[in-house]
């Protein structure tokens, strides 16, 4: 590239922050930058792998910059290379900074996990699933099981879903034949969280009553969703995406369709944007009420739990009325939605919201006045602001530590730019702060839905037609109840070529050990729950067994009458 970059930087930057970052990168890595471009809010920098670290070393201290996701992709069939897409966000100007890094087969990329601590899992996952090697860090298996064959990388294009399925059959069959019986049912037992009913495992190191250290082992629920989507069509994937999470599924289908719409430049009708926003907020209401109930239950205040869920039931009925289903709404399609919100439903929406506002306020007033509830929330599970920033955390977790990061404001999407709402922020960083963020958000969501239904424009709810193009990069992000969900899509002719999902818990879980240090053992369950973790989302593409040390889990084979092949 030429040496006078100032004009180029002027053209590409979206504010003083991105200008400063771009100048720095070009100053230190000018010759290694292969291409620079901008489309809407995405600034893309194609950079040689050997200069990525140098570039990031020079910018990682920039105030607003955080790591949103890393997508690794096998593009050997097209360009003979693997590619890594590092997506950074600049909150203050709503810019996505994407580093596209070509990686030749067998080449090594320098780690950035010491600069951006959130990148730790992304790098391990890229190695597990695609075989990309990283320099300067310890590598270990994160997402694949211990007995997974060496040098078999499931996300490589030459490996088919059928082949992967076959790999698991023989194991199961051989175990059954060892038992010497004809038919067997396999029932996995544990590890499950006592309150969250999801498979995950925490090891707490305790001295007296105080937790001094904690370790998380997860990735036990493999569903291979990203791989599966590569064999599906554009309009089938939203239904798969919605099943990533049983609580906040709509955020995933919306992120996916937004990523495709972004990649292909599809114009979505305004009315569809409004409908998506309304349903997203309804989902947040139900999710926050669910969480508050569980939190009160963990504190031993079951009365509060019952009432939170009683109120939540009204939201569930409302969701069904608007979408056709209490959960997994199934109305997102690329280019719009498939179900309209009729006029005659609007009075019903408003009525429900009024009842909700009144009853929720009543509940919170009472629940927060219970001395034990207050005492156990206050000052426990503290997450300092600096750590929250260093780990690129998202959602109520980061907002409870004084950082006003919210996708709805920072990288606005759907119809959020039409409504006025506050982003609740508390600075204490304790369990109470994270609780109050969610409580305030319930009231904000009610107000957002009221504003949206009043402003809803007429017109179609779906783009009439759109043309797929191969190998376009799109990013879709949604503020889920738990924090930012971000999907990266590389397009193909009939469906996604590569689809990278990043759920909020993937980002937030890595900070839980920090929160746990120094809490009383009795406060550990709530502290873990305070990030509103969703393990199945986090594990969306993974299989793992517990490994190392003395901890071991074994599947229990129970003899019965039928063989269940897929376990």
């Amino acid at each position: 590239m030429s040496h006078d970059y100032s004009k180029l930087i002027d053209e590409l930057s979206r504010g003083h922050r991105s200008r400063a970052i771009l100048s720095k990168i070009l100053e230190v890595c000018g010759d290694s930058v292969l291409d620079l471009s901008r489309r809407n809010i995405i600034i893309k920098i194609v950079i040689k792998a050997n200069c990525l670290r140098t570039a990031l070393e020079n910018i990682y201290k920039e105030h607003d910059l955080y790591l949103r996701t890393i997508a690794a992709s096998d593009e050997r069939s097209r360009e003979g290379l693997f590619k890594l897409y590092y997506v950074f966000g600049i909150d203050s100007e709503g810019t996505n900074l994407v580093f596209e890094v070509p990686v030749a087969e067998g080449a090594k990329v320098d780690t950035i996990s010491d600069l951006f601590r959130a990148s730790d899992w992304y790098e391990l996952e890229a190695h597990d699933l695609l075989g990309i090697e990283f320099n300067g860090r310890q590598m270990s298996r994160l997402v694949l099981p211990e007995d997974w064959p060496e040098n078999l990388y499931p996300l490589r294009k030459e490996v088919s879903v059928e082949e992967l399925k076959k790999m698991y059959q023989p194991q199961l069959i051989s175990r059954v034949s060892e038992l010497g019986v004809e038919e067997v049912v396999r029932i996995p037992v544990g590890p499950y969280h006592p309150a969250l009913h999801e498979p995950e495992y925490f090891e707490l190191y305790v001295r007296g009553e105080k937790v001094v250290d904690a370790r998380y082992v997860g990735f036990m629920v493999h569903r291979g969703i990203e791989k599966l989507a590569e064999s599906m069509k554009y309009d089938q994937v939203p239904f798969l995406a919605e099943r990533i999470c049983g609580i906040c599924g709509f955020v995933h289908s919306t992120s996916y369709v937004q990523a495709v719409e972004d990649a292909l430049g599809i114009e979505v009708p305004e009315r569809a944007h409004f409908i998506r926003s309304i349903v997203l907020e309804v989902e947040r209401l139900h999710s926050h009420l669910l969480w508050l109930g569980v939190a009160l239950h963990l504190l031993g205040y079951d009365t509060g739990f019952m009432h939170a869920w009683r109120i939540r039931e009204k939201v569930m009925v409302l969701a069904e009325l608007l979408t056709g289903s209490r959960k997994t709404y199934g109305i997102d399609l690329v280019g719009g939605v498939k179900k309209d919100i009729d006029k005659d439903k609007i009075p019903r929406i408003k009525e429900t919201l009024n009842v909700l506002r009144k009853e929720f306020k009543e509940l919170v007033d009472v629940a927060m006045s219970v001395p034990q509830v207050k005492a156990r929330l206050t000052g426990t599970g503290v997450l300092p602001r600096g750590e929250a920033r260093a780990y690129s955390l998202v959602g109520p977790t980061v907002r409870g530590s004084g950082i006003a990061r919210d996708v709805r404001k920072d990288y606005t999407y759907a119809a959020y730019h039409y409504v006025s709402f506050k982003v609740p922020v508390y600075t204490e960083g304790d369990n109470l702060a994270r609780t109050l963020v969610r409580v305030d958000e319930v009231f904000e969501s009610i107000s957002i839905i009221e504003q949206l239904v009043d402003m809803m424009p007429g017109g179609p709810i779906k783009a009439e037609r759109w043309e797929p193009q191969p190998m376009r990069l799109g990013i879709g992000a949604v503020e889920a109840p738990r924090g930012e969900v971000i999907h990266v899509v590389l397009t193909d002719l009939y469906g996604p070529y590569r689809w990278r999902v990043r759920a909020p818990t993937y980002q937030n879980l890595q900070a839980v050990p920090i929160m746990l240090k120094g809490v009383d053992l009795a406060d550990a369950p709530l502290t873990i729950a305070s990030i509103d973790p969703c393990f199945s989302c986090t594990d969306r593409a993974v299989i793992i067994n517990l490994r190392s040390g003395s901890v071991k889990t074994l599947p229990i084979e129970v003899i019965s009458r039928r063989v269940r092949e897929n376990g």
């Binding site: 099943r243 009325l321 009543e362």
Partner: protein, 174 residues
Amino acid sequence: MRMVKFLKMLSISVREGTATRKYPFESPLVTPEFRGKIEVDPVKCVGCGACTRICPPKALTIGNEGDEIVLKYFEGRCIFCGMCAYVCPQKAITVSKEFELATWELGDLYDEVVHTTVKCRICGKPFTTVKFVKEVEKRIDNKVPEDLLTVCPECRKKLTARKIGSKVVGVSGE
């Protein structure tokens, strides 16, 4: 007074009464918009297979069984998304409100629409349904020669290739 504020919950509980419904003795709460299992109208269905191509969990499948083409619906796989009804060009699929699908018999979870087939005029293989051919004739207003409608895709390819071939040969021969 502040210390006993939480007792207010008692008055809320009295006001709200019992929240749990006595289902199945009381009817369950299902709104008019609820999406349950689908129903395929065997009269309207022409066996085009559009629903099977969009169905995300592949609960709908279509295939040849002997001399018939059978559209199969397996409730056990269905995710009740309603995409089949959304894409059906014949409006043959409706989404019902039925959700009480538990059964002792696996067979109860299957539904079928059986179609009689059209056999290829050249190779004799059944390749599509009679109703589908009729529907195509209706939609294109009889503008396609009937012999093309009764030839299977493979034979049609060969036929077209031969026609082009003979034309090319014919032109160069003049």
